[in-house]
Symmetry: none
Subunit: 245 residues, 2 copies
Amino acid sequence: MTDTPPAFILVRPQMGENIGAAARSMLNFGLDHMRVVAPRDGWPNERAVALASGAGRVLDAAMLAQDTGAAVGDCSFVFATTARDRDLTKPVYSPEAAMAEARARGLRGERVAILFGPERTGLENDDIALANAIVSVPTNPAFASLNLAQCVLLIAYEWRRACAAQVPVSTAMAGTEWATQAEVSALSEHFERTLDTAGFFWPEGKAPAMKRHLRNLWSRLPLTRADVQTFHGMMRQMVRWKERG
Amino acid sequence: MTDTPPAFILVRPQMGENIGAAARSMLNFGLDHMRVVAPRDGWPNERAVALASGAGRVLDAAMLAQDTGAAVGDCSFVFATTARDRDLTKPVYSPEAAMAEARARGLRGERVAILFGPERTGLENDDIALANAIVSVPTNPAFASLNLAQCVLLIAYEWRRACAAQVPVSTAMAGTEWATQAEVSALSEHFERTLDTAGFFWPEGKAPAMKRHLRNLWSRLPLTRADVQTFHGMMRQMVRWKERG
């Protein structure tokens, strides 16, 4: 069984601009299977192609369908995106849960579809009746409206997150690596020794607490080897400066 | 302590359309604290207002700043959004992890900032050097470009998701609190000035890169107010020592 990506189905889209932007948003997150149901301005759409800049191949490969039923004919599970509450009994998924489901089914070779409605009105109840479940983006109830391309963007983003489920948070290390504890200790000692010579730990009675505070500080900071060398270098330079008189 | 929402900071934005769309995207997910750094076409911006339809109050309340440093002065933690790999050592967060962090800090009354760069070029390294961490949206490497409003939309979406999650609020601050960016900047400048006098930035051709590296280092370290005072104190003592001869 092959890994089958979901089909994003634009139902009766109106503005070519939005179709193009939807293609870009899909490709931003690695999706390229678009279907288009009865686009208002016909097909192909020049404005869509112009706005898709770089994602034109998503439009070139898009399947054109006469109605929503035909567009989802080969799909085993269909999600309908909608913001408003509908008078229909359907499971409602968050975008994250929906794309986790889509990903799991896709890995089993199933074709999943996500329906996106026309800009002004959204999906009609007849479209939604063809869906197995609803996906709803949790927007601010006082300012809920997302446009078509934004909705596509968020769902595509969640699809990619579902694909990458175990993404570790990495650190861009710019050619260096974390310092070892031994290196941090050596740095701490270098500073302690030099600061002692310079009279920093004063009054004497407070010196042990001050030293402990400083050792604690160094060990708490997330220092790279490059950072450690930088701090060593600063301190060496201050000493040279002093010695030059 | 009051629940403090993050500030979304648009750095040198170019198109009014994108500023308006960003305002809408923020409000879609319940965010209304915008700051704008040196917008190309001045401020207020008519195109932005026209495109913000319904989210105009986000623009009305937006704080205008001359430079990025001024815009983040009162923030205790700063994220920089960037797609490209940068030659800087910073922790890299996913949008989800970043907004979980922002949410946890916000609940402790801390102001977190997220920097968004200009449309064409993204943030400059000097902006990124002011940030504690990077947020990177995991796009398709073969088609990575997100526009400004899309990036704002995804981060705002993740913020709302973080609000819906039960974020544990941890505290182990030992009688101090995180330094603000302004305090860290002052520390960075103190070191830079003194090290300059001491001849640290040598050879001259390398001085700008060395200074940037150092500013980046300071902004990356999780420093408390006590830590900042300790570092100031060290440097002052080294100067006194030198001056005693």
